[in-house]
Amino acid sequence: MDVITGLFQGFAVALTPVNLLWCFVGVFLGTIVGILPGLGPAATIAMLLPLTFQMNPTSAVIMLAGIYYGAKYGGSTTSILLNVPGESASVVTCFDGYQMAKRGRAGAALGIAAIASFVAGTFGVIGLMLIAPPLAKFALSFSSPEYFALMCLGLAMVVLLAGKSMVKALLAMLVGLWIAGIGTDLFTAESRFTFGNAELLDGVDFVVVAIGVFALGEVLGNMETRESGQMLPVPKGLRKLLPTLDELKACRFAFVNGSVIGFLIGVLPGAGSTIASFISYGVEKAVSKHPERFGTGVPEGVAAPEGANNSETGGAMVPLLTLGIPGSGTTAILLAAFILWGLRPGPLMIQDNPTLFWGLVASMYIGNVMLLVLNLPLVPLFAQILRLPVYMLYPVIFGISIVGVYSVSSSLFDAWMLTAFGLLGYAMRKLDYPAAPLILGFVLGDSMERALRQSLMMSQGDLSILVSRPMSAVMLLLAALILLTPLMRKVNAWRVRAIEEGG
């Protein structure tokens, strides 16, 4: 009952014209920021923060939160159209989204991304509203051994992301793990693989690797084969630009899967939306009837990760609001903003500041509807970008990529690194190495190493800490099962052949 009265109170706050306006401003800015690679929601919020001091706190919070979840909607656009991940969480969307665009289904992919974002985003808010306090407890019971097991589970996805050759996939993953190891070792303060460059002390930025390997690698590869003046086919007619009923049906499970996995992983302060989207993609492929078609442009391969990275925002709000613990750079800035206004996220926030909490929750429902209404009509418009002739489009992609990377750290060194990773991406395409395992290794490597070493420090070097805790044991077992699947498939194929030959 508390929830319902709270929600009514919240809608009363969120539906005032002023707050509706700010909510719209927030989600609109978020969408734009999400579309632009490099410039992320964290930087945007930090830059707008001083301007919001004149506003009333509730409106300001509603607007800034709008930027946060709005960015997740926009992130998929460039992933699908140009193979340029707009932000780290949209890398997985590239896998099938860009392939769909290649087959002339760019509009459908964008539409599915928007719908998945809406469904999962709303699911995330419902979760935040109903079960925030008990979930916060769950998040706290998660510690280094569990994080290590979760990362193992994520890394096991490599067998699902592999293309034709498992060996090549594993090699690519190892390169990713190695790149993750570059920088300062947190536990000893020693530098690894920096070769005397101060620029490498903090490691390699995710955006540099992802944009280099995906976007630049793709463009370089395409430039060799200049067959048509147009990069990708775009069908004429509005109807063909939207997802078909069959495509939406195929995504039914992906909507649910993305919502649940994204939300649960979002609640954990040490995980993050990139991992959420990888895992939900892996799960989607694992349970699919046609796993072999993943990576060639299946709609559920877009819906699952897009859903996961949107419902993650609802999840991430749980520790932020109920514990005052931020799980990502963006939520850290939101926390800083809250504190500057004298609002204190933490165990007492819902009690002390019900108007704000419920106002925010209600505004997130409204914001998600606004985003859907805002994004769906943009689909045909964005799809037109692909009509541009390649001699215009390719330089534009190069430009966007370089500016995007430069805007993250304002360092030319990163722009050179981008070039290097672009060449790496190109070489990998030529030699038929899949890029996804490299990104997977890179995303998980750092946190996985950290979690393992933290666990061992907690147990004074005793490895059994990893399996003696129930949650971590279950996740490790799952990881082992996933790793065994390709082997079982092989054994099965061999048995079938043996029977056929015998018969």
């Binding site: 964290a42 930087a43 919020i45 930090a46 830059m47 923060l49 001083p50 001091f53 998040a139 706290l140 019971s141 998660f142 510690s143 280094s144 300062t184 947190l186 536990f187 000893t188 303060a189 020693e190 530098s191 920096t194 005397g196 460059n197 101060a198 620029e199 490498l200 002390l201 903090d202 302060p269 040490g270 520790p319 514990l323 005052g324 613990i325 931020p326 799980g327 750079g329 850290a332 800035i333 800083a336 504190i339 500057l340 004298g342 204190r344 996220p345 933490g346 165990p347 007492l348 926030m349 750290s409 304002s410 360092s411 950290r450 933290q454 420090m457 907690m458 004074q460």
Partner: protein, 324 residues
């Protein structure tokens, strides 16, 4: 070391500048570039943006301040960037304790504080040691005694090697002979989560960060790392009162590129001397539970020498390779 004579001159010149309005000779003529080493939302970034906004509000300088994020290298990128801007009169930056320790530990971080022009010290950030509310330790001594009984089995969730929480731990362990594990987590949120979840036993935390958990009764403060008791915690002893000598301050202040003219340095010193007296700044300190640590350039240079020397000693004893 090559800049030493310059500083000596400066030290002599400061008393004169303080009284005479010589500072009026220089006036910025275009927006000031305010370099910070963290990304948007990091500690230095938040402080710089607060300063920029307050400067504008109090109309202390005739131009705007533009915050520029030069992230990377644990501050090394920003420091190198400042060094490159030698003689630039329209650039300043916000330094923090990391700027002292990073060049000591990492060969790649080639620029030290003394290669730049320290302008003023602004803030001393206090900290507190907290434990979970159901933990048996009521005082720091309780914790130390428990750590002595089971060497290496108690745990502290913390930041990286060389950070303030590490320095405090090293000092405490050295003075008492106790020993406990130091488990690094990259973000403050993960450190608190590990403590609240009962996976570690204690942590060093900024008062602002811990405030809500203390109010809700989840965490208990056992000691304050501050020269004086902070107003919200009148009943918790300071480190010194508890009988330990481990009051390591977290400093923040303003630094400029090397080789700027003396009148420019004097101008900035003067601006910040007036700035720290404004109501806006006082409220900012109060809101964040920061302690005013204002020092002019000459004193700050002395402080840098002392602090670096102490840190170098602690690092060496802690088995960390000191490179300069």
């Amino acid at each position: 070391m090559k800049v030493r004579p310059f500083y000596l001159l400066l030290a002599l010149a400061i008393p004169l500048l303080g009284s005479a309005p010589a500072a009026a000779q220089f006036k910025p003529s275009k927006p000031i570039e305010f370099v910070v080493h963290t990304g948007p939302g990091g500690g230095a970034d938040v402080l710089a943006r607060a300063i920029a906004t307050a400067m504008e509000k109090e109309k202390l300088i005739p131009v705007r301040m533009q915050v520029v994020n030069k992230t990377g290298g644990g501050g090394a990128t920003a420091m190198a960037y400042l060094a490159e801007k030698k003689g630039d009169t329209h650039t300043i930056s916000a330094f923090t304790g990391l700027w002292f320790t990073n060049p000591l530990m990492r060969a790649e971080a080639k620029i030290t504080m003394k290669d730049l022009t320290p302008v003023v010290r602004l803030v001393l950030e206090p900290a507190m040691i907290v434990v979970k509310n159901d933990a048996p330790y009521k005082t720091l001594k309780d914790f130390i005694d428990a750590a002595k009984q089971n060497p290496g089995s108690l745990k502290q969730s913390a930041g990286s090697i060389g950070a303030r929480d590490w320095l405090v731990r090293q000092l405490l362990m050295k003075q008492t002979g106790a020993n406990w594990a130091y488990i690094s987590f990259p973000s403050g949120g993960e450190r608190i989560a590990a403590l609240l979840g009962g996976h570690v036993n204690m942590m060093l935390i900024e008062p602002q960060e811990a405030g809500e958990h203390i109010r809700a009764g989840n965490l208990r403060v056992i000691v304050q790392i501050s020269e004086e008791r902070l107003p919200p915690f009148p009943n918790v002893p300071t480190m010194k009162e508890a009988g330990f000598d481990a009051t390591v301050p977290q400093v923040r202040g303003i630094i400029a590129p090397p080789g700027i003219p003396a009148e420019v340095l004097a101008y900035w010193e003067d601006v910040f001397a007036r700035f720290v007296k404004t109501a806006t700044w006082k409220k900012y300190l109060e809101d964040n539970l920061f302690v005013d640590g204002f020092q002019r350039s000459a004193e700050l240079n002395k402080f840098i020498d002392e602090y670096s020397e102490t840190t170098r000693g602690i690092l060496r004893e802690g088995g960390v390779k000191v490179v300069r």
